[in-house]
Symmetry: C2
Subunit: 276 residues, 2 copies
């Protein structure tokens, strides 16, 4: 029998089709019992009701998306995102999620100073970490592809994430999220995955389409692109990571327009043929 016990689906994969209650019910109906939760969707129903539905469907929350965006020089914007990250930590604690996905943030409006943005983010991380530690929640630093550095994440490589963790000297309240989409091209990927041993708290899969038409919202289903997903999974799992393999697909032109039940069925099939 096929084993889907380590398959998780991130709610972004059916972002346009399903609310959180629908996604919980839908994934569970297809035998998938772990999911990443999108905070906007969570706020539509509230944490208590979400928790009730999650328990009713025996659904584990892997990661909560997202916290961070701590690159602003403007103190008010910086503060607002710091507060939002603290709320994400509270939510993750209530949902018993494995981690909050931490997205660094891009260049502040009007800025060209990447070094300053990166320093600001580190500063914000240092400020929020004690809060995460007290809550028993892990922040998962997710390096995002360099192509979205300007507007989304000045944390661009696994090497940089490893450097940040070492600079912060943090404990289990800080980890790394490895998403094949963001790291597959990196000549240092293998070395930096090894270096991340013991720090990897979430592993995400999808595929890179040869004809990518958008910098953020045109990811492919596993098997439809050029990433050797299985190889990267093995590298990640060779470090000792034994958590979920989470499918996360942003796809404005394809998967977000399909019947969500079909998306889940194809996800399961491709999990077997192209991930494990």
């Amino acid at each position: 029998m096929s084993d889907f016990s380590r398959l998780a689906i991130n709610q972004f994969t059916t972002l346009h089709q399903w609310s959180l209650p629908q996604a919980i019910e839908g994934y569970a109906r297809h035998g998938v019992h772990a999911m990443g939760v999108v905070r906007d969707k969570l706020h539509e129903v509230g944490v208590s009701e979400a928790n009730r539905l999650l328990k009713a469907h025996d659904m584990k929350v892997t990661c909560l998306c997202v916290g961070g965006l701590l690159t602003d020089s403007d103190p008010d914007l910086f503060r607002a995102n710091l507060d939002s990250t603290r709320r994400a930590i509270d939510e993750a604690a209530e949902l018993d999620a494995d981690c909050v996905v931490f997205v660094a943030g891009g260049l502040p409006e009007g800025s060209r100073d990447l070094a300053v943005a990166r320093a600001r983010c580190l500063e914000g991380l240092a400020e929020v970490l004690p809060y995460a530690k007290r809550a028993g929640v892990t922040l998962g630093l997710e390096p995002l592809h360099p192509m979205i550095c300007a507007f989304r994440s000045c944390l661009s490589t696994l090497g940089q994430a490893n450097d940040w963790i070492e600079a912060l000297g943090a404990g289990p309240e800080l980890g790394i999220v490895v998403d094949v989409y963001h790291v597959w091209w990196d000549p240092d990927m293998e070395r930096e995955i090894e270096r991340a041993a013991g720090r990897i708290v979430s592993f995400h899969v999808c595929d890179w389409l040869m004809e990518t038409t958008d910098l953020r919202l045109d990811r492919g289903m596993m098997g439809d692109g050029v990433i050797d997903i299985r190889r990267i999974r093995r590298l990640v799992e060779a470090t000792g990571y034994d958590g979920f393999r989470e499918v996360e697909i942003f796809s404005e032109r394809n998967w977000w327009r399909r019947d969500p039940d079909e998306v889940v069925e194809i996800t399961k099939a491709r999990y077997l043929s192209d991930v494990i």
Copy 2:
């Protein structure tokens, strides 16, 4: 008086508007006397006629674009691109160009094995280097942005280019092309530019648009985006590089549709305001 003696314009900047004779005449008319040449455009007129026009307009050729694309496993395709690279070397020698821009190539059709593609390219480079050395021509390795790794260049970072040069143990027949567009996001940029000291043979500028709509053909004019171009120029020149600052803009939706004389005039103005 404004000094344009170190300004070069790469012919890609007016790709859709001007043939090679028109570009030579056009750039010279605006007081720009150095240019990067696109091989397809060169072949339309032939090397001899091009040379005559270049001399008549006192036009220096900086780089010839492009050679390489040596990642194919298929021996025939590999051989064809190796031959093409040798012809590019011959052409560069005849034009007295500073270098041939070497683009690595992406994943071969149907392949997901980036390590193999990279190894194949190194193999091809090793094979073609003696030919370049005999011709007295430099191949300029240009790392291209990770977002075009799949279909264009498995050489993705300056660090990788430095590693390749050290692995090949080559002399002046091998150098590095630094384009701000491809390297600005890299957390290791500063260190790897320093490491490339003495190897940098060409320096290209344009800008990264916050709202980039295409992975390859949507570059911005200097000043319209978020790259701190002046800072990167200073880093490059601090290594001892004293060559041209070459403007190279691929822009399907804007600059390739504009009056080319206007493009050159704006290029000159932005060179003064955002590059030097």
